[in-house]
């Protein structure tokens, strides 16, 4: 439990730039949490179904899976700590942080990195779900799950092009998966 608290403190304090940047930090620590790639994919799906900030949802999920409700609460509170420290400090000193060029400059770098991190995680999920390899260097190109590949491509395009509600896309994909069982 202590390890989880420390991990989510770290994720909170390094989590600049929103939920997806934090998601990539969670993915990086996934092994330490005992989280499989499948469970990580399920976490991302639940993020789309359950309301609330991605970081809070993720901390609750990881905590619950690794140690039950108490650990879920501890992980969630840990990820909240940066906000609770920063807000009183900032309002106390009222320094105009945005007047310094350093902050936006660092954020530009971090946001660019977050794009690459998320893209890599998406690619790793694809490799795992479609080709059953968790390591790209071990890719053999043998048995592939074509239905999963089809769903990945369709959902990405449907979300970007036609702005179909992610909740609906998740439900449709689940239905399609269920139907495939009887074919």
């Amino acid at each position: 439990m202590l390890a989880i608290i420390v991990a989510f403190l770290k994720i909170g304090f390094l989590g600049f730039g929103g939920g997806y940047a934090m998601l990539s930090l969670i993915f990086a620590e996934a092994e330490r949490f005992g989280l499989t790639v499948q469970q990580f994919a399920d976490l991302n799906a639940l993020d789309g179904i359950i309301p609330g900030p991605i970081a809070i949802n993720s901390a609750t999920y990881v905590g619950q899976l690794s140690g039950g409700l108490g650990t879920a609460l501890a992980a969630t509170l840990a990820v909240c700590v940066p906000s609770l420290i920063i807000v009183p400090l900032y309002t106390h000193f009222e320094t105009k942080l945005n007047d310094h060029w350093q902050v936006p400059a660092m954020l530009n770098g971090i946001k660019a990195a977050a794009v690459g991190l998320i893209m890599a995680i998406a690619a790793l999920l694809l490799l795992t779900l479609v080709f059953q390899v968790t390591d790209i260097t071990r890719w053999s190109g043998k048995s592939a799950d074509w239905l999963s590949l089809l769903i990945i491509l369709f959902v990405a395009i449907a979300d970007l092009r036609w702005q179909i509600n992610p909740l609906l896309l998740i439900l449709m994909a689940g239905l399609l998966g269920g139907l495939s069982y009887y074919l």
Partner: protein
Amino acid sequence: MQTNWRLFKVYLLAGTFTFSGGMAMLPVIERELCQKSQLISKDDLYEYTTLAQTFPGVIALTNACFVGKKINGTSGMLVAGLGAILPAFVLMSAATMLYQQLPQTGVILSVLTGIRAASAGLLFSAAYTLARYNLRDFWSIFLALACFGLTLFNLLSAPTLIIIAAVVGLLVNWSQRKEFH
């Protein structure tokens, strides 16, 4: 006391009906706190929103804490923050408990396989959207590609990459500033 109860209720409401990410809370907050109860001005709300994005941590929570603190001091900060995260915590722990009960065999495994593929598709779409907004010059594209490759081949961890990227962002901006002067 009344103000705190109102703050808590508004954030609880906004937190309950906000899907995929905390930023979608904003329209509800604006309607309830700026227009209906006039507890905070629109300018202040949006300034705090921008500010919250520059700090580490959960953006929606930082924003709620700023607004709560402005309206009613430390107690306001705590109730607004609690309201913003409580729905997510309660609903997500209930959902995860249900998920843990699911037997991962037969037709349920097939349903989950479909859902996992959808989840990967949504991540590709999120990455693309983030790329469109954040990759504007050579350096940002270079950083994104480097982080992509290094993560894919498991060469550097995400925390290390984030720290390196912050330093690169600083250096690039610094050198561009020097060119101007």
